[in-house]
Symmetry: C2
Subunit: 159 residues, 2 copies
């Protein structure tokens, strides 16, 4: 992986973000996954047109890159996002094992356009019972069976 950011991929993410607004009326966000300088997959925010609240640009690009490469592990790839990823997307980047993130707009730019992640950052920092989201924990004992089955599973594919 190059030590300098790939500004052409970042500019493509910005182009996708702008196109998503003016062509599709979608959210102003785009993302590009690359490997060795080559584009693997791209994404645009599709929350409204796909009826999918998880279809942020980064998640769309990650899912497309995994489908393209036939793997759930994007080690060796990096992602370029038109804007600082929200906590969902940052977590998806983590689970996908992407090796670098380059972004253009900041969370403050996003907030100024009506996309404010601050409540979510605050929620994540709290223990479940203290969150604004009503949260109940129950049946912890019964929850162990699935974990025990996983521990006992031979030849399991860790992820």
């Amino acid at each position: 992986m190059s030590t300098t950011p790939d500004l052409s991929a970042l500019r493509e993410a910005l182009r996708l973000a702008h196109e998503n607004v003016v062509r599709h009326g979608g959210g102003p966000f785009g993302a590009v996954v690359t490997r060795g300088g080559a584009v693997v997959a791209v994404g645009q925010n599709q929350v409204t047109r796909a009826c999918d609240p998880t279809a942020h640009a980064e998640v769309v690009a990650i899912r497309a890159a995994c489908a393209q490469l036939g793997t759930f592990d994007l080690s060796g790839c990096e992602i370029h996002s038109s804007c600082e990823p929200c906590p969902m997307c940052l977590s998806a980047i983590h689970w996908a094992r992407l090796e670098r993130l380059t972004f253009a707009g900041t969370r403050h730019d996003a907030a100024a356009a009506g996309f404010d992640d601050e409540l979510l950052y605050r929620e994540l920092a709290l223990p479940p019972a203290a969150r604004a989201l009503p949260t109940v924990q129950a049946l912890r004992g019964e929850a162990q069976a699935a974990f025990e089955a996983w521990r006992a599973l031979p030849d399991k594919q860790a992820y």
Copy 2:
């Protein structure tokens, strides 16, 4: 929405979690979305079998519920998860506007089975430049065009 948790839906999430391990060799996680006490959609962790690192049980259930109801807004619905959701899933629950979360296993149970979210919680609490994930910010000025287009868009569908 009932004031008491729906233990039958939570037990179904636990059954799905166990089934996912023993039948599919998948991760020990299941989730159920309900509305007014009726099941709308369910999910099992499909990271390995679907080659999708975002296919955690909660995300799968949310996407299925949205497809079922034809909306990106699950207001009026709640989610039952076999285990405390990871930050990606908790964020997805937030974006989907689910109104309550009930879970069984804790993040400590998950960690004991090899699924440790602690690094991710720490990452999310840090500013981007301080994270373990190499992160670069660039082209902030060029990033404004998409946001300006969004602000200027007439009749936009906010989400």
